[in-house]
Amino acid sequence: MSANPDREYEQLRLSGLHAFYGESHILHGINMVVNRGELVTLLGRNGAGRSTTLKAIMNMVGRRTGSIMINGEETMSCAPHHIARLGVGYCPEHRGIFSSLSVQENLTLPPVVRSGGMSLEEIYNMFPNLYERRFSQGTKLSGGEQQMLAMARILRTGANMLLLDEITEGLAPVIVEKLGKVLVALKKKGLTIVLVEQNFHFAAPLADRHYVVEHGQIVEEISANELSAKQSVLDRYLGV
């Protein structure tokens, strides 16, 4: 099944999703659908609400209304830990490396939610830096190393839908390149990926579709093949 993903299978559907932090209304009715095996990006300016969308899916924001279906199941009333158990892997913007844990403990921390995740060796092969520093305290890593670790640890869990928030941030170009290859490989394996990315040139060649977020709404949906046609629209939205 993983070799030949069912492209029509709807893995994630957001309809009329609103989200609030206390008094401030951040998401104003997001609608989007992601099918199994797709890689979709959320583009937008700083503060547009992309990270908030991912957090809302994980039930990590204050208040939400609307609907979130994962694998056809309504999850608005699910606690975050239930959502993870549905096979969702989340890599947060702020990395979330645990300082009381060693690098290796950080890596093996998230429980395996499905079979088919990467093994520790595979991960260390991919990120030799982490192997070298595996016994140091998690937060003693350099900024970029922490970013690698944050990404690496959800690859272990076997989650089949990844929500990745700015994973190339602060990484050296070589590593970014490598990450690109990883994402391609994951896609091949049939994983569904929602990618929030600042670095459009990293995301462009990987994605099947792009959603542009502005002021908490999806203002544009662009599929990979119409990318060049809509370049100018995109540039306008992104303020390039």
Binding site: M58, M60, A79, P80, H81, H82, I83, A84, R85, Y90, P92, G96, F98, S99, S100, L101, E105, N106, T108, L109, P110, P111, V113, Q137, T157
Partner: protein, 295 residues
């Protein structure tokens, strides 16, 4: 008889042993405190009250239900632990993520309430509890008479301490706990039921205090106010060990028991102050305590 600083060696060895016994007690109490602080970042000023509750439940269960010591050893921590879970669920949870000071005040308030209510119900003179027959008597070690019960205290306290340390530092569950306290939301995002984990941890921490309370019931006067005097000392132990360091709390507990014991021999009036002196000195040279991680 050979002497050290005017104190016979035999007496000194006795004092050392007593120090270790008391230290084991401190270790147990400060361990619970360190677990709660280390994992939940809560400064648990209700710890003394929980210790007291452990002892009180032991006595009351015996008086009213005829529950014996061995059963109490299990039941009292369970009951107090459950009570702790309730407190965590209804009160402490609401201030998660706030400054330390709030948890300190909240738990201090809780301690005042618990203690005050029990004082009104049971007075302050203390409740009667007789030592279980198994432990009556003792063994003469040559340099001192060691009551069986004290020997048991050492064994029981150290076993529990070690088990706790092992669980937290060496097991997966412990890793979840440690991580959950840093970023509980993210841990939940990984599929772990963190709120439950936190409630249970607090329950476990206070259960450790209650366990110490059960151990104390036969040898100390059991009163609603018995915890308040111990609290500050135990706190000092945790700070010297390094807030949140599990191993540190255990080792420092024993160390402080010994130091206090020696002070009781050489300059008794200072025995309640000596721990604070040690604390000032230690923090002077090691800002995060003996075993604390650098801030």
């Amino acid at each position: 008889m050979s002497m050290i600083f005017g104190v016979p060696v035999a007496v000194l060895s006795g004092q050392l042993l007593i120090g270790i016994i008391n230290g084991a007690f401190y270790a147990l109490l400060s361990l619970g405190l360190a677990v709660i602080f280390g994992l939940l970042k809560i400064i648990n000023f209700a710890h003394g009250a929980m210790y007291m509750l452990g002892a009180m439940t032991t006595v009351l269960m015996f008086d009213y239900l005829g529950v014996n010591y061995w059963a109490a050893l299990l039941l009292a921590p369970l009951l107090v632990g459950a009570f702790g879970v309730v407190i965590e669920y209804f009160l402490l949870r609401r201030i998660a993520g706030q400054d330390h000071i709030y948890s300190l005040l909240l738990t201090f308030g809780i301690a005042l309430i618990i203690t005050g209510v029990l004082v009104n119900w049971f007075g302050v003179s203390g409740l009667r509890y007789t030592m279980p027959d198994t432990f009556k008597g003792g063994v003469n070690l040559g340099f001192m008479f060691l009551p069986y019960y004290r020997a048991w205290v050492i064994v029981a306290a150290l076993v529990v301490c070690f088990a706790t340390w092992f669980i937290i530092e060496k097991t997966k569950l412990g890793a979840y706990l440690r991580a959950g306290t840093e970023d509980s939301q993210l841990m939940q995002g990984f599929g772990i039921n963190v709120p439950l984990l936190i409630s249970l941890t607090y329950g476990f921490g206070v259960a450790l205090a209650a366990f110490a309370g059960v151990l104390a019931a036969p040898i100390y006067s059991v009163t609603p106010v018995m915890g308040s005097a111990t609290l500050i000392t135990v706190f000092a132990v945790v700070v010297i060990g390094g807030m949140g360091s599990i191993g540190g709390a255990i080792i420092t507990g024993i160390l402080m028991g010994v130091i206090e014991g020696l002070t009781k021999t050489f300059y008794p009036p200072a025995s309640s102050a000596v721990i604070f002196l040690v604390m000032v000195l230690v923090l002077m040279f090691r800002p995060s305590g003996l075993f604390g991680k650098e801030a």
